[in-house]
Symmetry: C2
Subunit: 260 residues, 2 copies
C-alpha cells in the first residue's frame, strides 16, 4: 500500500476520510502491470473530487504511484481523502488531500459469467449533491451487502426510496429488452462507474438504442436480459432472481466480448 | 490518541471506518478529568453500534481508556469502526471493531450563549435505516458546513428533502413557543444527541409540554425562542437568522442553568 507515495499500512487517525467519510475512491483491474482504462478512472476520480471540493491529485502523481505499486495482475484501489485535520466539519483551508493506493488480489468471482442475484430490502436515499459520486459514505452498501451470506448469490440489487431499481451493491445494472439497452437514471442516487460509461459507449458503437430512465422491479423481471458490470468483474449476466430464470443471452455475450 | 487502547496516531489503512465510513462516534466534554454524562454517551454509542451490526466495546474498556487519555478539561471523541479487513462491502465474520479515542482542545466558541445562524442550501436525505445514528457517513454535514466561512455565523441549520427543519450541522435544534417545547422528528434523518435527550428530560422535569414533530422554516422564524444544543457547546440561543432577530429568552436561560 502507498500512502502519499510512501510504502505504509496506516493513515493518520485524524484523517477526514476516517472521521467523516470525506473522500472518494475508484477500483480498477491491473493486467500485467497495466491499469485498465486508467484515463477514464482518473477522470471520474478527479470529477468526484471536484464535486465535493477536494483538489484532485495530479494524474502524473497517481499514475507513477499506481505503476510503482501495482505489478502483475491485481485489483488496485485508489482512495483520495480531503486529508488529516482538526476535529470539526469545516476543513481547514490548508488541508492537503491524502492518497491511498492499495493492491488487492483478483477475486475468485471474476471468472463468473452468469450469476444469481436478489433484491435487497434496504432502499437508497436521494441525495442529488452526492449522486453519481463514488464517495466514502458507503454504509448503505455495507448494510445492503450484509443482508445475505449465501455464496450462491453473487449480488444484491438496490432500489431507491421510490422503488426504482438503481444498481447492484458493487456494480452497475442494465436491462436489454426488445433491441434496446436501458440504464437506471442516477440523478438522485447511485454510482457512475467507468464500466457503465463503457457500456453506454457500446450502445453508440453498436447502434443499440439507449434509454437512461427510471424503472421498477416488474420491468426488470420482464426484461429479456439483465446484467451487471464493474471494472473488476467485467460483465455478469443475471440468470436468476428468486423464481425468475433467464437463459444465457446473446446481447450479453456480444457486449462481454466488446468490453474485453 | 488511543487506538485499541494503545497510544498511537494512526490506524490501519484498510480500516472499514476509512474505506466505507463503517462506524459510529460520539463527542463529549471532559471536566477535571471527568467525562460528562458518560453513561448516556456510552448507551447511545452502543445502541448505534448495534443498529449497524457492530458489537459494541464493553463499557469498562472504553471507560478505562477514556479516563487514561482524557485528563483535565478537554473534548473527548470516541470512534468505533467495524474494524480492518479485506476489500469488499461484506465484513468478514472475524472482523474486530477498532476503538479510537482522541483528546481535543475545548473550542473557543463554547463560551458563547447567543449566536447567529443561517439556513443551509444542502437538504438532508431520508434514510430511516441510519436516522438518529451518529455514524461516520458525514459528507452531508461537511458539504453543509462548507457553505459559509463567515466566523460571525456560528451554525448552519439543515432542512430535509421535504423542507422540514432537522438540526444544525453539529447540534440539535429546538423551538420554544407559547409555553411549549418543539423538537424535530428524527425518524428519517438527523442525529439523536445526548444533549437532545437531556433537553427532552428537562421538559418532563419542568412540566413543559413537548412536541416531537415536523416543522418548516416559517414556523421556526415565528417561534419565541430557537436554540441549539450539543455536548460541547451546551446551549446556544439563536439571536439572528438573516433579518430575523430574537431577544435573549427566559426559557433558554432557565434551561441552560439546568443543563449545567
Amino acid at each position: 500500500m502507498l500512502v502519499n507515495g510512501v510504502f505504509a499500512d496506516a493513515v493518520k487517525a485524524n484523517d477526514r476520510g476516517l472521521m467523516y467519510g470525506d473522500g472518494v475512491f475508484r477500483t480498477l483491474l491491473v493486467r500485467k502491470g497495466v491499469p485498465q482504462h486508467w484515463d477514464r478512472h482518473y477522470r471520474r476520480l478527479s470529477l468526484d473530487c471536484e464535486r465535493i471540493g477536494i483538489s484532485p491529485p495530479a494524474m502524473e502523481t497517481l499514475t507513477e504511484e499506481l505503476l510503482r505499486l501495482a505489478k502483475g495482475d491485481c485489483v488496485a484501489k485508489i482512495v483520495v481523502t480531503r486529508g488529516a485535520g482538526e476535529r470539526g466539519y469545516l476543513p481547514d483551508a490548508s488541508v492537503e488531500p491524502t492518497r491511498i493506493i492499495s493492491k488487492n488480489p483478483i477475486p475468485d468471482h471474476r471468472i463468473l459469467n452468469e450469476v444469481n442475484a436478489r433484491f435487497c430490502d434496504l432502499r437508497l436515499s436521494h441525495q442529488p449533491r452526492l449522486a453519481g459520486i463514488k464517495h466514502l459514505n458507503r454504509l448503505e452498501n455495507v448494510l445492503a451487502r450484509m443482508e445475505w451470506r449465501d455464496p450462491a448469490i453473487a449480488e444484491g440489487l438496490l432500489l431507491d426510496i421510490n422503488d426504482h431499481v438503481i444498481e447492484g451493491t458493487m456494480s452497475s445494472l442494465f436491462l436489454y429488452h426488445e433491441g434496446c439497452l436501458i440504464a437506471p437514471d442516477l440523478a438522485s442516487c447511485g454510482v457512475e462507474g467507468v464500466q457503465r460509461e463503457r457500456v453506454i459507449e457500446y450502445s453508440m458503437a453498436s447502434n443499440t438504442p439507449l434509454q437512461i430512465r427510471r424503472f421498477g422491479q416488474d420491468e426488470l423481471l420482464k426484461a429479456e436480459e439483465v446484467f451487471l458490470v464493474n471494472s473488476v468483474i467485467g460483465l455478469w449476466q443475471i440468470v436468476s432472481i428468486g423464481e425468475r430464470r433467464w437463459e444465457k443471452g446473446g446481447f450479453c455475450g456480444e457486449l462481454r466480448k466488446w468490453l474485453q
